[in-house]
């Protein structure tokens, strides 16, 4: 039996559910020396505005328990240079390229999407309405239900490409934002972006990164991200791309059982750039052990039956 790892995100079919997360994989090409980009389900570019951006002064990251805080500040080459310099090479490498689109205004989101609509080889647009690190990084859209609706609605009218808003976890009820995105016509949602966080050097009493505040990622956030995917899965019908601290196949499957159609791997690229083939092998192994022929059969197949301690130990055993 050959394992079918393909998953569908709207009109897109990916050969497997593993996607490289924005901001954790450069423009993809940086990783060509260690990863065959065509092997991945997809690659999400760094966040792109219309114009180039310098980003924040370093230090930009600090390690925290089982995670890291970053405030890169969306340093980037702008959409025009991306289309000219990076996209052709990504296409040549066989990558399915998702472009992470940023904007300071609604018009900018629309304009960047229009540029990408005319480019060759963009698979989908991930709408960045959730970067916690810059004042005008779309978070004003991502933290308001109306703002989320409006920006998704506007870009849907401007492009034929699938639109995948990336949601912030820094709200009280992320599922209602998934619903707003769905109502506005989003083809899928991706979640979560990083958790707003900070770290202080107690010896100097200074912030550990220049921007003071940054976004927390890595294994530390995984259980919260899984919970949020599960909440969204119960409320919306569009596919969910789940992420947050995935390090191996078990973590990826956990997100899929919670309702994710596909998953993104971010911080783990820094820990181990060879993570991709290990997770792919792990997925196939899981499918064999659990007699699953299509990985899409795992989506949302979490069994929420309560575990009743001593008198129901069977429920604690793994499903064969």
């Amino acid at each position: 039996m050959k394992a079918d790892l393909s998953v569908a995100i709207g009109s897109l079919t990916l050969p497997n559910p593993l996607i490289a997360a924005s901001g954790c994989f450069g423009y993809g090409l940086e990783y060509e020396q260690v990863v065959d980009l065509s092997m991945l389900g997809g690659v999400v570019s760094k966040g792109l505005f219309m114009k180039e951006r310098q980003g924040h002064p370093p230090p930009r990251i600090v390690e925290t328990p089982a995670g890291m805080i970053n405030a890169i500040g969306l340093q980037g080459i702008g959409v025009h240079r991306f289309v000219k310099e990076k996209l052709p090479l990504l296409n040549k490498a066989g990558a399915r390229t998702f472009v992470n689109v940023c904007g300071t205004t609604l018009d900018e989101y629309v304009e960047v999407c229009k540029v990408l609509s005319q480019a060759e080889g963009v698979a989908a647009i991930e709408l960045n309405i959730s970067c916690p690190n810059i004042k005008e990084g779309g978070i004003q859209f991502g933290c308001s239900l109306n703002g989320t609706y409006d920006v998704v609605n506007a870009v849907k009218k401007a492009t034929h490409l699938p639109i995948i808003p990336k949601l912030t976890p820094n709200v009280t009820d992320v599922a209602s934002f998934a619903r707003a995105a769905e109502d506005a016509g989003a083809d899928a949602v991706s979640l979560v972006n990083t958790f707003l966080a900070m770290a202080i050097d107690v010896e100097t009493r200074r912030p550990k990164i220049t921007n003071v505040l940054g976004g927390l990622s890595g294994p530390a956030i995984r259980p919260i991200a899984v919970r949020m995917v599960w909440e969204c899965y119960q409320l919306v019908k569009i596919p969910i791309i789940g992420m947050g601290g995935i390090t191996d196949a078990r973590d990826a499957i956990e997100f899929m059982l919670a309702g994710a159609t596909a998953v993104q791997i971010g911080t783990q690229n820094f820990v181990d750039p060879f993570v991709w083939s290990k997770v792919l092998d792990g997925l196939k192994d899981y499918m064999t052990r659990h007699n699953v022929s299509k990985i899409s059969d795992l989506i949302g197949r979490f069994d929420p039956t309560p575990i009743h301690g001593d008198h129901d130990r069977k429920a604690q055993r793994a499903v064969p």
């Binding site: 940086e30 310098q54 370093p58 230090p59 390690e63 080459i77 820094f270």
Partner: protein
Amino acid sequence: MANARLSRDYSVLSLAAPEVGRRTAPGQFVMVKPAGVTDPLLRRPFSVFEVLRDAAGTVTGVSILNKRAGRSTNKLYELAPGDVVSCLGPLGVPFKPVTAPTEAWMVAGGVGLAPFATLAESLAAAKTPSTLFYGARTAGELFYLEFFERLGITLVLTTEDGGRGVKGRVTGPLEAALKNAGPSGAMVYACGPEPMLEAVAKLAARYNQPCQVSVERVMGCGLGGCYSCVVPVKHGDEHANLVRSCISGPVFDGAELVWE
């Protein structure tokens, strides 16, 4: 393979990584962490210190010069032979070599000695007249002096407490040498704390000698993926003069960097 303690803060960690050793050029670095743990989560960048060889001359691995500065380097200091370490590399832009009659002047501050063992070997092999200006806090923190002497490198030592060599900073003797540089000149190579790098780059510029500096930055991935390790350069893009030191460096032309 081994973790030789040089002092209470310094150790030389030898790693069985023959492929890394075979490919390493002087000035390149590796990303290292204890394997299979989430604390530390991220790798840390280290210059390749030595390319290790067995008695027959076959490359068996690399070593790194580790100085305890935080959680990660503390854990590396505590490792014992047999412990497994993840080592990714070699990465980055190496030093550009220089040949006689131009001299090579290596300037090291503290743990900044690390990239100069391999550079000294290649300079010695090319018979380039070479000097190591090496500064540390105390005499007990001047390491591997016999290694450099054996290669025929001239040593100029400084300590902050005057315990050995010239008392003070390494830039003192360097400036004296720059004043008296011969007509063929010298290529200055520098690695050490940021203020030292700035002082060396500015001295080299003042005395019209070329200079290559190896910078150290907080680095997430080492491959250009995370954009953490940026340094400001004079001739970057029009809008962004911050370049990634992992792939555009760690070795830069000292005159290209903007000192803040």
